[in-house]
């Protein structure tokens, strides 16, 4: 039980000041401020640990952090939706400036031009990267972004069924199901090649590069969808856009993605930022915030939140989404990252990933007992390899060599999506963070099982 005055270093009011301020209210103790709470429910027992000093806090948290195996502690080949890429030091140095970090959503544009202009830049860069007409200010993450894309396809087409290609991340698919369950939207799994789409399908949902690392034939998928009046809804690793034709090139209607590869730490799964782009004609069906450029009373350029009638605080139950707080700080991180890397750098990073991954794949392919089931397809930085023994066992051995292997596809929900002959698949991801020595260490580890 807590008794007496506790002076937190986060709270300025002292005991004396509290007393003085209470006196202006005609009160004598803090507890009186809570008299509206029925007495029997007031001041319950609170079973929380005692306060800690910052020294103790830092030690406890360092100890907790120390119990985790950081990717930086050895070569890693784990991807599958979160990617270990290099992040220039300026990203953190700039995004942690108090003026960015401790501002709220830019509701008062006159004193939020910093955040607003950053979002406008973000919209510019993301739409450019995806080859799309318009991007919003960001969603929660790649998975929810795609789910909202599916919902938006239903709104645009006024249909109630979405078809999801079987090469979409099963984690993303689960999230789509969750998002669709309340509104009774049907979610169908279809083959990625020649997907079954009909006149009731609101959107064909695909991922490219897909979950297995391969590029989809977006032109074909788009044609099939559009033939039936459905939208083509894509999820795409934005970094692939550093070298490959962007989804916009194939007339995709909604392109979403996980922004994490753009300068955001893997951080055990979040915070990331969802990317969301579409065609101009669908703007008013877009979820989440949009920033627009306009002028102030003196004619100077300035930025504001706009088209807010789409949003929950205006439209309430008829809003395009319930999203309010999004991931603005990580939209900033992605913007800084894309600016620093720039036109040349992003292509270089993408190509480093490409060449290293293909080098690794070529090496694996030569190992007896291993084969690459999707060899005829074009992949970016991830590929599936069928292993001679259970991937879990291989990964265990790799760890003994301090190598973190690829994702074990031998279990549900992954195994369900692979052809029967790929029953011991491993999804290997290679990025610019992997040196040749890293790859050689992986190969040596795999070779033990040849």
């Amino acid at each position: 039980m807590v008794t007496g005055h506790f002076q937190s270093h986060y709270i300025p009011n002292t005991e004396q000041e509290q007393a003085d301020m209470l006196a202006t209210l005609g009160l004598t103790c803090i507890d009186e401020l809570f008299r509206d709470i029925p007495a029997e429910f007031r001041n319950p027992l609170l079973d929380l640990p005692a306060p800690l000093s910052e020294l103790e806090i830092q030690r406890e948290l360092a100890a907790l952090a120390g119990k985790n195996r950081a990717l930086s502690s050895g070569p890693s080949f784990l991807g599958a939706g979160a990617y270990y890429h290099f992040i220039p030091a300026i990203v953190k140095a700039l995004m942690t400036r108090g003026e960015f970090l401790t501002a709220y959503t830019p509701y008062q544009p006159e004193v939020s031009q910093g955040t607003l202009q950053v979002i406008y830049e973000f919209q510019t860069l993301i739409s450019s990267l995806y080859g799309m007409e318009v991007a919003n200010a960001g969603m929660y993450d790649g998975a929810t972004s795609l789910a909202e894309g599916a919902l938006m396809a239903c709104r645009v087409t006024r249909r109630q069924r979405v078809a999801i290609a079987d090469t979409v991340s099963p984690l993303y698919r689960q999230v789509i199901r969750t998002y669709c369950q309340g509104q009774g939207i049907g979610v169908e799994l279809v083959r990625s090649r020649d997907p079954k789409v009909d006149g009731d399908t609101a959107g064909l949902v695909v991922q490219s590069p897909n979950f297995f690392g391969n590029l989809e034939d977006l032109a074909q998928q788009g044609a099939i969808a559009h033939d039936q009046g459905a939208l083509l809804v894509v999820s795409s690793d934005p970094l692939a856009g550093g070298m490959f034709q962007p989804p916009g090139h194939y007339d995709a209607d909604i392109v979403t993605g996980e922004g994490q590869p753009l300068g955001i730490p893997v951080s055990y799964g979040g915070p990331y930022v969802g990317l969301f782009t579409t065609k101009e004609r669908y703007i008013r069906q877009m979820p989440s915030r949009l920033v627009g450029r306009t002028a102030d009373t003196a004619g100077r350029n300035g930025y504001v939140l706009t088209l807010q009638t789409r949003e929950q605080h205006i439209r309430r139950e008829r809003a395009t989404s319930n999203i309010c707080t999004n991931e603005a700080l990580y939209a900033l991180a992605a913007t800084i990252y894309l600016t620093a890397l720039g036109r040349q750098g992003l292509r270089q990073v993408a190509e480093l990933c490409y060449h290293k991954a293909h080098y690794a794949a070529a090496q694996v392919e030569q190992l007896p007992g291993y084969f690459l089931p999707f060899q005829q397809e074009t992949f970016f930085q991830e590929f599936v390899v069928q292993c001679p023994t259970a991937p879990a066992d291989i990964n265990q051995r790799l760890l003994e060599r301090n190598v973190l292997g690829g994702l074990d596809l031998g279990r549900p929900p992954y195994s369900d999506l692979l052809p029967p002959e790929v029953d011991r698949g491993m999804l290997v991801c290679v990025t610019e963070m992997n040196t040749r020595e890293d790859i050689d260490a992986l190969i040596a580890g795999l070779a033990e099982f040849s």
């Binding site: 937190s8 709270i11 509290q18 803090i30 809570f34 509206d36 429910f41 007031r42 609170l46 079973d47 640990p49 306060p51 806090i57 100890a63 907790l64 985790n68 930086s72 270990y84 300026i90 400036r97 108090g98 003026e99 970090l101 401790t102 501002a103 509701y107 008062q108 004193v111 031009q113 202009q117 830049e121 860069l125 080859g131 998975a143 929810t144 999230v175 969750t178 509104q183 856009g241 070298m243 490959f244 962007p246 979040g270 949009l290 627009g292 088209l307 929950q312 309430r316 139950e317 319930n322 309010c324 707080t325 999004n326 991931e327 990580y330 600016t339 890397l341 060449h355 290293k356 080098y359």
Partner: protein
């Protein structure tokens, strides 16, 4: 100030771009170059900017200075709990052992992270008086979506498919009806009574067998503790419905009462408000959901579970028992995965650090001082601004600019004029049931000097509204830009730079 050269922030990135400049250097390829894919698959050009690293730093530093923020201004934005965000929490989130772990690494690699999440779940359950929780939801509204889907799943699991109506007070935040709609429910509005409480009569009318439940914000967005709350819960339960708590305003109640004991069935918390994780200009957040025992099986996946010897809830002994094993689990009847991985870990780690720092004593002192500061403002401003609900408030106070409006100056204009005084504006025109609402939330981390200065500024503006109304109507005058043409922005959307 006359702005110098390229430090001038007005030019956009693509306008600063010069072919050939670069802002980062990548390593050379250290493996043999591999065959390239067919040219048709490769993109021709990439319209990204080309600027050097110094220019990147200068540009974004310059932009940052155009913002108001907690670190630089008093930011009494109602409903947003703009309290001080401790720097140590950021430092913790950036530890390599947290920032560099992959969400799909085996649980054996992430015991420290999982332990943190497990304990945080426990802390939040203790604070809300609930039995279980999931940290997978990424903001308040996301928590709401999970929550309403859980309510749906709960009813359906009992074979009850008739319930389609969600009752939501007229004072509720927009995300509440929007979330209910996303779960497929029909939203019915619940009126508030004269005192700002839920109108019990209206509730009785709605409390039928088609009622999914109610979504209640406590304290309400009027900054008031609903005196009928226990009765509200009783009525809803009697009708077979569930009571959802929007916990965005929990800063008022920390350690003072437990929603679970009052009768709430489930609640989401906004860690980016109550638990002091930075807003970052609009996110990231984290909106964990805590719930009573009967709803636990429906929680969003994943939750963190523990095998073997269980530490007591809320236990904080840093000498954790090594025999304990933490893992990610899917509740039996889970509504499913609702985000890509396991929640906004970096935000959750900050909130954990915050709760550990404050501890039992500190947690209670948050709510005490937050409510004290708000009432101090109420008292200091009640003579100058109309107080529509004349009751002591909780963590925030909602005034109306009605009196100023009569003199031709709107609430919006009052708010804009505050910017000239170096204060961020209150939340305006919300809740919707108050005319010309000015919703002011000082938080516990502001000192009395600041509160006094703020009171003085608002009184001054009141005087200006009478004596020099034009000055107020055309405010702000001292900000980087003046009032912006929002109508034009909406009419002719310019949403990205174009060559």
């Amino acid at each position: 100030m006359l702005k110098g050269g390229t430090r001038d922030s007005t030019r956009l990135l693509m306008e600063r771009s010069v072919p050939g400049r670069r802002g980062a250097v990548t390593p050379l390829l250290d493996v043999p170059a591999q065959p390239m894919p067919p040219a048709a698959l490769l993109r021709a050009d990439l319209a990204l900017p080309e600027v050097s690293e110094p220019e990147v730093v200068q540009y974004f530093t310059g932009l940052s200075q155009l913002n108001f923020s907690i670190d630089t201004q008093f930011y009494p934005l109602g409903s947003c709990t703009m309290k001080y965000n401790p720097k140590v929490n950021d430092e913790v989130a950036f530890l390599p052992g947290f920032a560099s772990i992959h969400p799909l690494q085996p649980a054996e690699h992430c015991q420290g992270a999982l332990e943190l999440l497990y304990r945080l779940q426990g802390f939040l359950e203790e604070i809300t008086g609930m039995s279980g929780g999931s940290l997978a939801t990424l903001a308040g509204a996301h928590g709401e979506l999970a929550g309403v889907l859980m309510m749906r799943a709960y009813h359906q699991a009992r074979g009850d498919f008739r319930r389609t109506k969600m009752a939501i007070p007229d004072s509720a935040h927009g995300t509440n009806p929007a979330s209910a709609a996303m779960a497929g429910f029909e939203v019915v509005t619940l009126a508030s009574d004269q005192e700002g409480n839920v109108d019990l009569e209206a509730l009785h009318e709605l409390a039928g067998d088609d009622l999914v439940g109610v979504m209640i914000t406590l304290p309400s967005t009027l900054g008031l503790f609903d005196r009928n709350i226990v009765e509200v819960c009783r009525v809803v339960h009697e009708a077979g419905g569930l009571v959802y708590g929007d916990g965005a305003n929990m800063n008022a109640l920390l350690g003072r009462t437990k929603l679970g004991e009052l009768g709430f069935d489930l609640v989401h918390l906004n860690l980016h408000k109550t638990f002091s994780t930075p807003h970052g200009g609009g996110g990231p957040g984290a909106g964990p959901v805590c719930c009573a025992a009967e709803l636990v099986p429906f929680l969003a996946a994943p939750v963190v579970s523990v095998a073997d010897a269980l530490p007591a809830k809320g236990e904080a002994d840093p000498d954790w028992d090594e025999r304990v094993f933490y893992f990610l689990d899917t509740p039996e009847q889970s509504i499913g995965k609702i985000s890509g991985f396991h929640g906004n870990f970096g935000v959750l780690a900050r909130a954990y650090t915050y709760i550990r720092t404050l501890g039992d004593a500190g947690i209670k002192s948050i709510s005490g001082n937050a409510v004290l500061n708000a009432n101090y403002l109420l008292q200091g401003l009640r003579d100058s601004y109309h107080l529509p609900y004349d009751r002591p408030c909780m963590h925030e106070v909602v005034f109306s600019a009605d009196w100023q409006k009569e003199r031709g100056v709107s609430g919006l204009e009052v708010a804009k004029r505050l910017l000239d005084y170096g204060f961020h504006a209150p939340t305006m025109y919300f809740p919707l049931i108050v005319h010309e609402a000015l919703m002011i939330e000082p938080t516990e981390t502001e000192n009395r000097d600041t509160l006094d200065a703020f009171i003085q500024a608002l009184r001054e503006i009141d005087r200006e509204a009478a004596e020099t109304p034009e000055l107020v109507r055309q405010a702000p005058h001292t900000t980087p830009v003046s009032r912006l043409d929002e109508a034009r922005a909406a009419r002719q959307p310019d949403l990205r730079w174009r060559p």
